[in-house]
């Protein structure tokens, strides 16, 4: 067993991905030092001297709005190297499908943004956009099987779409219609498709770890080789659930892939304000599991890292950690600073417009498009056709939502238990309701 662990793992994985010029870096056993991680992030030249030492319980006074540019990746993603080769080997049909998924996520959310900001549809409820982070969902899901499990977050529309979610049912749920994924009970934050291994978006930060770990245990019991993926953000890594789940999965070799979408901001607080290390994945470097630190706006890097992590998990070697550095284009929730037909939220007090614009210039979709064309894997015309197909599908999903019916208000006492309604205790006379529904 021992030769399967520690530095040997790291070496073999580094070899697989290519230690020089790799699009993904693999570290393990405390080796995530500056020289490895800074070089490995897709050739990005990162500021190594970011000091995250805090001056007391109140956080790091040296971190200022605008400092997120210190994590900015390069303009283009590498067209050669192990990650590029791994993705190219997936074949043209799949490469275009992944592009289709990224576009669907982007266009669907951008359309919802415009509908929320418009008045005609009177949309309400929470909505947390994933725009700008699509390469992570699509890169991860591209390396999974259909029957693998994912546990998502409040910012999970992209995860659902990438795992094969139906945008008609998603749109209907945003409209709280009875044809929605959750029949109008859940809304944006709780969309779930158990038939596709999508254990659901979740309104509680840090809820994904145990969900994915439990699903992976279920797979172990059945001997099915499925893996569980726990998505989370930089903010959620502060949760005690995080350390609990990662530690136990490492201890028991549970096949979970922890995917940290580090968008550098938790709600309205910069990541560096509350993180004691430059990268979140450094928190767990004492554990004997592979760590992949990748450019989260590079589809090839995310895909290649996940492929390794999945093979590792299916081989019975246990969990791994992937941290993708990325950036949230919009506000934490809702659309403050956003405008109809304009990308990105500007004028927010906890970050600078310059920082937003610089990160938007590293758009994962544009970068992937350029990569496909540069490698001769797709033409502009092919990709434009996909863009148009996606636009039509998104429009259709909105029409579907608009034409669907609201749920019966009295269904409010259903679906809490497997059978029957609960008492309508909001009324003086409560028996009539129960009789009507049963």
């Amino acid at each position: 067993m021992s030769e399967q662990r520690g530095t040997l793992d790291r070496r073999s994985l580094l070899k697989l991905l290519g230690a020089t010029g790799a699009s993904a870096v693999v570290t393990s056993c405390g080796s995530m030092d500056g020289s490895v991680s800074a070089e490995g992030l897709t050739g990005g030249k990162f500021e190594k001297s970011i000091s995250l030492a805090t001056a007391g319980p109140g956080g790091n006074p040296n971190w200022q709005p605008g400092d997120a540019v210190k994590f900015l990746p390069p303009a283009d993603i590498p067209t050669s190297g192990k990650a590029a080769d791994a993705l190219a080997a997936a074949g043209n049909e799949k490469l275009l499908h992944l592009y289709h998924l990224m576009q669907t996520s982007r266009q669907w959310e951008t359309t919802m943004k415009d509908l929320f900001l418009g008045v005609a549809d009177k949309l309400y409820g929470a909505f947390h956009t994933y725009v700008g982070e699509e390469a992570i969902a699509v890169g991860v899901m591209g390396a999974l099987n259909d029957d693998d499990y994912i546990a998502s977050t409040h910012r999970g529309h992209g995860h659902l779409i990438a795992k094969g979610g139906d945008i008609n049912k998603m749109s209907a749920e945003i409209f709280f219609k009875e044809t929605g994924y959750n029949k109008g009970y859940g809304g944006s934050m709780h969309i779930t498709d158990m038939s596709k291994g999508i254990m659901g978006m979740n309104g509680i930060v840090g809820a994904s770890y145990y969900m994915a770990a439990g699903a992976a245990l279920h797979a172990m019991v059945r001997g099915s080789k499925q893996v569980g993926v726990a998505f989370f953000g930089d903010g959620a890594a502060a949760s005690p659930y995080y350390f609990s789940a990662v530690r136990s999965c490492a201890n028991m070799k549970i096949p979970v892939i922890f995917v940290n979408e580090n968008n550098l901001q938790y709600m309205h607080v910069p990541m560096a304000q509350t993180a004691p290390t430059k990268y979140i994945s450094e928190y767990t470097k004492g554990l004997d599991i592979p760590h992949f630190l990748v450019d989260g706006n590079d589809l090839s890097a995310v895909y290649a890292a996940t492929k390794e992590a999945v093979e590792w998990a299916r081989a019975g070697k246990g969990p791994s950690m992937i941290e993708g550095m990325t950036y949230r284009w919009y506000d934490h929730a809702g659309f403050a600073g956003g405008k109809v037909s304009q990308d990105g939220a500007m004028g927010l007090p906890y970050r600078t417009d310059d920082e937003v614009k610089q990160w938007m210039s590293r758009d994962p979709i544009t970068r992937y498009k350029k990569w496909l064309v540069a490698k001769g894997l797709a033409s502009d015309a092919e990709l434009s056709k996909i863009d148009a197909d996606v636009a039509a599908a998104v429009t259709k999903s909105v029409e579907y939502a608009r034409q669907s019916s609201d749920p019966n208000p009295e269904a409010g006492v259903l679906n809490t238990h497997a059978e029957g309604p609960v008492k309508a205790t909001q009324f003086y006379n409560r028996r009539n309701v129960v009789t009507r529904l049963t």
């Binding site: 007391g56 006074p61 709280f176 903010g235 938790y266 607080v269 269904a411 409010g412 205790t425 006379n429």
Partner: protein, 327 residues
């Protein structure tokens, strides 16, 4: 005395106690403690008291840490307030149940616990669904020995109960529901004052039926009262403000007069705190006609129509009060 927002009144209470207690601490997550008066005067606790006594621009998303650290500071002797967000209404409960509520007793009275859990509440409103709609979790804390619970419903009580909670040597859970913060608020004195723990207030006097409700159900009761008056029903409305200790005397005295009791709550029906109110009253007052209406035992759904139907709102309160009076 400038007109103050509810939030300003609450933060002013904490600030005044922090000024009076040099080692008092105030920890929170993303709810950076600033508020502005209509005159433009800004209250900024992080700036005034610094990073060692506050959470500065915000602490990580780790509610157990925020509550646990404050409880530890309180055992050592600092007055400590920990504010947790609304979607985490019982994240702190394990440490409060096993530590904060028990330490005085377990140590034979040695350890004090000047700890306040400032727990943001959610509300029965459309669009959030499930985890962001919880109301009524105060009953879970009220069940714990050694723990006191208050539920303010206007800016005056919010400030006075906060100061009383901070000055109390025992752990107090202070539930803070956003729904009661909207609308017209009573005047809030500038100086520090207390609203005593365990003292109910009669919001409206009446003869025919006693209505008991606390935040945020008070908002719906306030809407129902004029409708009841129009129907010729004279309702007495009592807001207990503190659930534990509960002012049974004030409620029982009212029901002795009206002989009818309606308890309204936005919390869930089964074992909701209203059940305790009802049980206290019927043990004190003979021949009471009593009824509870409460949010059903379902997580709050997202769709507006379902949520509105489930909410024990003004029309349902009017109907229930009228049926009790007519029965």
């Amino acid at each position: 005395m400038a007109k103050k927002s509810y939030n300003y009144a609450q933060l002013e209470a904490v600030a005044q106690e922090m000024r009076a207690n040099a080692d008092m601490v105030f920890y929170y997550e993303y709810q950076v403690p600033t508020a502005t008066l209509p005159t433009g005067e800004v209250l900024d606790l992080a700036k005034e008291f610094g990073n060692l006594r506050t959470s500065g621009r915000g602490w990580p998303i780790d509610e157990q840490w925020i509550a646990g650290a404050a409880i530890g500071a309180a055992v050592a002797g600092s007055k400590a307030v920990a504010r947790l967000p609304s979607m985490a209404p019982i994240y702190a409960i394990e440490y409060v149940q096993n530590q904060a509520g028990k330490i005085r007793s377990m140590t034979g009275g040695q350890a004090s616990m000047p700890f306040v859990l400032w727990q943001d509440g959610a509300g029965r409103s459309r669009g959030s669904a499930g985890q962001h709609t919880d109301v009524g979790c105060e009953v879970l804390y009220a069940q714990l020995p050694g723990v006191k619970v208050v539920v303010p419903s206007n800016a005056y009580d919010a400030k006075g109960l906060m100061i009383a909670a901070i000055r109390d040597p025992d752990p107090v859970v202070y539930f803070d529901y956003p729904e009661v913060k909207a609308g017209e608020q009573p005047d809030v004195p500038d100086e520090a004052y207390t609203v005593p723990l365990g003292k109910a207030v009669v919001r409206q006097e009446g003869r025919d039926v006693t209505i008991v409700a606390w935040a945020p159900a008070t908002v719906d009761v306030n809407r129902a009262l004029p409708m009841l008056a129009k129907m010729g029903i004279s309702a007495e409305f009592i807001d207990p403000r503190s659930l534990k200790p509960l002012d049974v005397d004030t409620i029982a005295a009212s029901v002795k007069k009206t002989k009818r009791l309606l308890v309204v709550e936005h919390g869930h029906y089964t074992a909701g705190f209203g059940a305790h109110v009802l049980s206290e009253v019927v043990q004190e007052v003979p021949n009471v006609r009593a009824r509870r209406i409460a949010f059903p035992d379902v997580p709050g759904p997202g769709a507006a129509g379902m949520m509105e139907w489930l909410r024990p709102d003004a029309p349902k309160i009017v109907d229930a009060a009228a049926q009790i009076v007519r029965a």
